[in-house]
Every structure is written in C-alpha cells, then in structure tokens.
C-alpha cells in the first residue's frame, strides 16, 4: 500500500498538469496552439484559464473536506455538506441573489452562510463539552432541513429569480470573478496544509475516540480543529462555484481504495485526485453539448457514479472492510 501511495503521490501531479493543459488547450472552439497563444486566442485563453484554475481548487477543497468529515464522523456517507454547510451557503447565496447583489457579495454571503450553519450545528451538538458523533450528525441533518426549507420559501416568494438560484444549486465553474479564484486557492492551500500537518491526529480519530484518547489525543479539541478546517474548505468552494455534489463523498473513498487509509498520504492524494476529477468535469461540462454548457453537478453524477459503482463491486471486500 505504501509503495502504491508513493507512486500515486508522484504521478498525480503530472496527471493534474496534463488534464489542466488539456482543459486550457481544448474546448468547444478549436484553436491551434499558435492561434490560442497569439492575438486571436487571447480572449478565449483569458476565459479558459480561470475556469481550469477554479475547477482544480474547488475539486481539491471538496475532497479534503470530505476526508475531514469522514474522519470526524467515522461515517462513510459523510461529505462536505453533511453538517449543513450546503443549505447554509445556499440560503446565504439565495438571499444575496434576490437582493440583486454582485458576484463578491453572493460569494461572501454563501461563505458566511456555510460557516454560520456549521457553527450552529457544532454548538447544538455540544453536550457537556463533548461532541457525540450521533448528535453532530443528527443536528447537521436537521439544521440542513430547516435551512433548506427557508431557502425554498425565500425562492418561492421571488420565483422570477428561480433560474439564478437553481443554477447556483446545481454548481457552476464559470469563473466570473478572477479575484474569487485566488481566494479559493488560498483557502484550499491553507485547509489542505492544515489537514496534512495534523494527519496523525486524523488517523487516531478514525480509530475511534477511546483509542485516540489512550494514545494521547484530545479528541474533542481535534474534532473542533478539523471541523473548522472542513468548514473553511467547504465554504470557500461553495461560495465560488455553488453546490457541486459527489466529489467530496466519492473521491476520498476512491483514493482510500487505491492507497489505503493513512491520512499523511490520503490528504494530499485526495486533494490531487479531486482536482484532476473536477478539471475533467469542467472540460466535459463545457464541451459535451455543442454550443451549450451543462451544469457541473449533472456531469459529476453521470461521470463519477457509474465508475464508483464499478469500483465498489470489484473491490467489495476492501470496501466493506
């Protein structure tokens, strides 16, 4: 496993560069490299590069957030949205969209919504200084439902804007604001580096809290830190690109199947795999239908789902432990 992990870690960056290069070079408009980097392709290049960069950062953020939440909750179904971040961000974004605010304000509101929702979930789950896993999961789900209801109520009052909100809920990697791309990259690097630095604690945490405590870890403090990191990663990704499902759930599992569960390698490998996956998805959403663009969420589900199911059947033994 370790050798496989090292091989993965060595090859994945090359893979990422390759798909990113393909994403920049290819698109619905066919241009030769000479044209693309010349005067004729300047506008196109200027449009493609931020999209590819955004896809990579969002893919990495969501995957690492998935790793964190799966470790905290020790639940294979945990994803970046399980603790209410998605509906919190959705409500924030919808309110900003309905108030006709600009791109930055919508992103800021989504980020604030995600952070606020996860904070509320965290506070609700706190019982006598501890955070029981079940309470955390349940309060996450219930807060998610409540905010989801508020989101659809808000949209229902202003159905003329349904289109905007729907598109946001399906996820989009059309980079409309270059500054946002930078912001997501900064959050992604900080969050991933944090998760990697504390990867030993993540290992201990996924053993179970009692064992972790015996081995000298304070599980409550570790959970709080990882919770914060996961929310930061999710909030930033959601703010820039809406709700892109599937990545945060599936990529960590996929990588775990290949390289094993050790977090020191799982964190960077998941980040890379998530980035590769979403760069490919962005490319497909831009090119699959001639002349049109498809919502990113549709592509992640269609492309990732069958592949994951195939892997699941093939490696049933490994997967079910």
């Amino acid at each position: 496993m370790r050798r496989r992990a090292d091989l993965f870690l060595a090859l994945a960056p090359l893979g990422l560069l390759a798909v990113a290069a393909a994403g920049v070079m290819l698109g619905p408009e066919r241009l030769s490299p000479g044209e693309l980097f010349g005067e004729a392709g300047r506008n196109i290049l200027e449009n493609r590069v931020p999209r590819v960069l955004l896809a990579a950062a969002v893919g990495a953020s969501l995957s690492v957030a998935g790793v964190l939440f799966q470790a905290i909750l020790r639940n294979p179904l945990a994803d970046p949205y399980v603790l209410g971040a998605s509906s919190g961000a959705g409500l924030g974004a919808a309110l900003a969209i309905l108030a006709l605010l600009g791109t930055w304000a919508v992103a800021g509101a989504a980020f604030a919504g995600a952070m606020a929702a996860t904070f509320v979930v965290y506070r609700l789950a706190l019982v006598g200084g501890r955070i029981p896993r079940m309470t955390l999961l349940l309060s996450g789900v219930v807060v998610g439902y409540l905010l989801g209801g508020a989101l659809f109520f808000t949209v229902n009052l202003n159905r003329g804007r349904l289109n905007d909100v729907m598109w946001w809920l399906m996820g989009s990697l059309q980079a409309t604001e270059p500054g946002l791309v930078t912001a997501v990259w900064v959050c992604m690097v900080l969050g991933t580096a944090g998760a990697w630095l504390f990867s030993r604690d993540l290992d201990l945490l996924s053993l179970g809290e009692e064992q972790a405590e015996h081995l000298g870890l304070s599980p409550e403090r570790a959970k709080t830190v990882f919770f914060g990191l996961g929310s930061l990663l999710t909030g930033a990704a959601v703010a820039a690109s809406g709700l892109i499902g599937f990545v945060g759930l599936v990529v960590p599992h996929l990588v775990r199947l290949i390289i094993g569960p050790g977090h020191r390698r799982l964190v960077p490998c998941s980040a890379l795999a998530g980035a590769i996956f979403l760069v490919i998805v962005e490319f497909v959403s831009r090119t699959a239908l001639p002349g049109e663009e498809i919502p990113v969420g549709v592509v992640t589900a269609f492309a990732g789902g069958p592949f994951f199911l195939w892997l699941l059947r093939r490696q049933r033994k490994v997967f079910w432990g």
Binding site: P28, E29, E292
Partner: protein, 311 residues
Amino acid sequence: MNADRVSTAKPARLSRLAAVPAILVALAGLTAAVLAPTYFTRVRSMGGIVSLSPSTTETLFALGLGHRLVGVSTYCNYPPEAKALPKMGDYGTPAVESILAARPELVVVSGRGMNRMLKGLERAGIRVYCAPDDSIENIASGFEELGRLAGDAGAGRRLASEFRDRFAKESARTAARAESARPLVFLETWSAPLSTVGGDTFVDELIRAAGGRNVAADLGKGYFAPAVESVIRRDPQAIVITRMGDEGAAAAHALAGRPGWAGVRAVREGRIWADIDPDWLLRPGPRLVRGLEALRARLDEVRAANEGTAR
C-alpha cells in the same frame, strides 16, 4: 389486580364501537370524492377573462378588451390599468381558488402549452387558450384567435395585420443586406448562467428584422446557456442586456469584467445596451414592434459607424 381485569375484558368491545365514527367518516369522504367531479364541472361562468401572462394581458388591452379582464398574473405590469386588477398567480402556479371564484369564461396564457393546473381549470368548465409564442407569424395569429375568443374578431384581425405589416416592412428594408453587413448581436437574457436565445425563437427573428444577426443563432435552441467561449470568439459587435435600471447597469458592468470579455468588440467599443425595455424584446405581445424599432435604430448607428471607419 382488579384494574388489570377491567383493562383486558372491556376495551375489546369498546374499541370495536370506537371504530364506527372512523368508518362513517371514510364512507362520507368516499361519497364526496365520487360525487365531487360531476358537481364541480357545473360551475356557471360570469363571462370575464383571466390572463395569466403579461403578453396576453397586453394583447387584450391592445384589442380594446381590457375591460373584460377580471384577473391577471402577478407579473402583469402593462398597461398601468392592468396593475389594478386582481392578481391570480401565474402560468406555473395559478391561484386556482381565486380563478374558480371569479368564474371566468376564458383563461388565456402565453406559449408552453397546458400544464396540470390549467387542465384542472378546463375540467371545471373554463375554456383555456394558450397563445403561441414560437414565431412572429404565430404571435400574430394568436392576436387574431384571442380577438375571436374574446368576442371581437375584427379587432383581432386589425391588430394582427398591423403587427405583420410592421415586421414585413422592416424585414424588407434589411432583407437585401449581406450577412457580413449585419452587426453581430449577443442578447444576454440572464447572467448566471450566461443565457441567450437560439435561432428558433421569435427574438432571433426580431434581431434579424432589425438588421442584425444573433450571435447564438446556431449554438442552441430556445432559451439556453451558450458555450461562453464560442460567444467570445464570434466577437459580437453589440450586446443587449435584457434588464434595466440599476440591475441592467450592474449586469453590463459584470459582463464586461468577466475573464475573456474585455477584448470583445462590443465591450471595447462600449456597445453594451441595457436601456431597451426588456418587455419590448421578450414579451410575445404587440409591443414587440417598439423593440423592433429601438433595436433597428441602434443597429443603424452601428452600421453608420462601420461605414465611417471603412471609408
């Protein structure tokens, strides 16, 4: 001990009796459910009209039949008289109870065909008419049909022929124009996702009649999200934003700032227009004529500027 015996013997009989009201209620409900459909289809009309689309409301007023309206959609804002009429939902979510209470003889709505709610109104004995919106010619036919259904066929014919003539006249004026002499227009109907109109829409016809060319005519159908880089590459000369006021200005500013758009000709030359009333361009009603005139005037300016630089 004693209490125990009571609780095992008596309740059996009591619970059987307790079921009787429930059974009666179920039978009453069943009867009501069987009889209701036949009862409710016999609602007698009071003769008014409910319009559930802004365009059909405008058409009825243009036909001189605005006084027959007893209800309009929440989006109907023109002419000003329409705003004072009772609001009865919209195409997707008609306020069924208000409509049934008003007992109109006709419900009209634009395009898209029947939906479940409208079928429900039909079952209640109300006539429902969907005015077509797929081409300029069919919009004109819709005026005729609406006039006929609403009781003034002559007005319908007059409005339709006036509308057809205006479009025919403008189209004839620009028909001889070479494709390359037609300014390329990108019409942004929505910014997230970036959306526009395809070649099979009446809006595309309007752009052509005004002397321009829709940059997305062959990229897709209906209202859709075009491949952004294809729009950029085709380098439109003018961009029409179909929102007005602060919102239109914000959308224009945002579009110009998106990566890759700074070099597009319309942005470079400052031709992002957010001041043509979107209802003149996107509502399949009689005011399309105004949209045609406004856009034609703008495109003529572009052509004049082009010829100036060519010389």
